[in-house]
Symmetry: none
DNA sequence: CCTAATCTTTAGAAAAACTTTACGCCAGTT
DNA sequence: AACTGGCGTAAAGTTTTTCTAAAGATTAGG
């Protein structure tokens, strides 16, 4: 499953360079030129990593970062032409996870992206809840020790929920991660497949203990009943 | 509570510089010149962060890192005189969290240390008042340690009040933020849901201590009773 | 102290959201 | 060409949430 990276960069040439680079490595990208619209997007949909150019036109990048950190822990890599020590220290203390100065090499940026994504994905081999186990390496799911066959869609949804265990995922987050951005606004797709997952994984599908509905919002996978 | 930093560096002058710098910032330090002894130490005692000089005499730093990552997730900041892109990419892909090239500024190194320590301490923002806690990441609310179920509207109102704690929010501000601009002028919507919130969160809903009414204006959430 | 406006609380109606099942289509397989 | 499994669609039935309305309490102002 591809990770999603948000790019906040107001220079069109640079934005295009970054998105092309990221897409060539199979990342999903969401690009924004304005701080406001990026923040708005993040409130609606979580991403796995953020690339932030400090030199934004509409607001100060440092200030943007500070604001974001009030409520969001997503890793942020700052990209900036400014090389002074003070800029770096300030950005890192405002919550940046890494700082890259222009000009930078594409390979180094990609490596730093990988390093920052890695620490998010808790290097857990097997995900568990109740008697259910999901092994992402073997792409296998079992319940009470017996293998359970999941379709690709079901598996993708379950893995997404497990990667964000105990958090609520909105219908649109699930749709865009599993089906693709073009499918947002079709919550019924998710519902049908959630019903299937409950049939296969819950003791009492009609009264689910782990795969919980959050009416009006989305779904949450609870690790504890 | 001071964090402990392990320094693996075989140049005595550099090691001394680093430990002095770290101690001046109240970090505990454990210094090693040999990869083997550092590994040995780590098996016995966990540290919060590792500073690794790639130019070790007794073994290759890249290889040391690779070995460590087999069983240990502690953040590693690599320090190296080698500036080539290939070295950086390799170290980051072997599990380094950050890469600093010599010569570096002390302030920048300290800032990067802070940034890397920060992401370990899962310092997720949580809003609190009385015994009530709201975790915006998990979208969960608890009271006296027990989960409290809030509907979407109730949750949205509470989060809005918490984001503007101790300030008065007018009915119309709440309506436009939670329902949308088209709903201003219907204060009764807010009232019914505020009553619900009090039922769920206040000890004596009829005499609220936190969710206060400002007659004629709106509501205010007081952080202190 | 009286009045009008504002507010709390409850209950039930209405709306929205959700679950579940069934069916037809499509792609890949036999 | 028929079979199969997986998916999207639709519809019926259920649950949850929200809105409405009304009765009683509180507040602000004269």
């Amino acid at each position: 499953m591809a990770e999603t990276i948000l790019v906040l960069e107001d220079d069109p040439a640079m934005q295009s360079f970054l998105t092309t680079l990221l897409k060539s490595k199979q990342y999903n990208t969401h690009s924004f030129a304005h701080g406001i619209s990026a923040l708005q997007h993040l409130t609606e949909q979580a991403v796995d990593l953020i690339l932030l150019d400090l030199g934004l036109a509409d607001m100060d990048g440092q200030h943007w970062l500070q604001q974001l950190r009030g409520w969001c822990d997503t890793p942020v890599i700052v990209i900036s032409a400014r090389q002074t020590e003070q800029d770096k220290v300030q950005a890192l203390d405002h919550g940046a996870n890494d700082y890259v100065t222009k000009p930078f090499s594409a390979a180094e940026l990609l490596a730093r992206i990988r390093a920052n994504l890695r620490q998010t994905n808790v290097q857990q081999q097997v995900f568990c809840f109740g008697t259910v186990r999901l092994d992402p390496v073997q792409r296998k799911v079992s319940r009470d020790g017996a293998d359970v066959h999941l379709t690709k869609t079901e598996y993708d949804i379950l893995l997404l929920l497990l990667r964000h265990a105990d958090k609520v995922l909105t219908h649109n987050q699930i749709l865009s991660q599993v089906w693709g951005d073009a499918y947002t606004g079709r919550p019924e797709y998710v519902r049908v497949h959630m019903a299937q997952l409950r049939q296969k994984l819950e003791d009492t599908p009609a009264a689910p203990v782990y795969l919980k509905t959050e009416p009006g919002v989305g779904y949450r996978l609870k690790l504890q009943p």
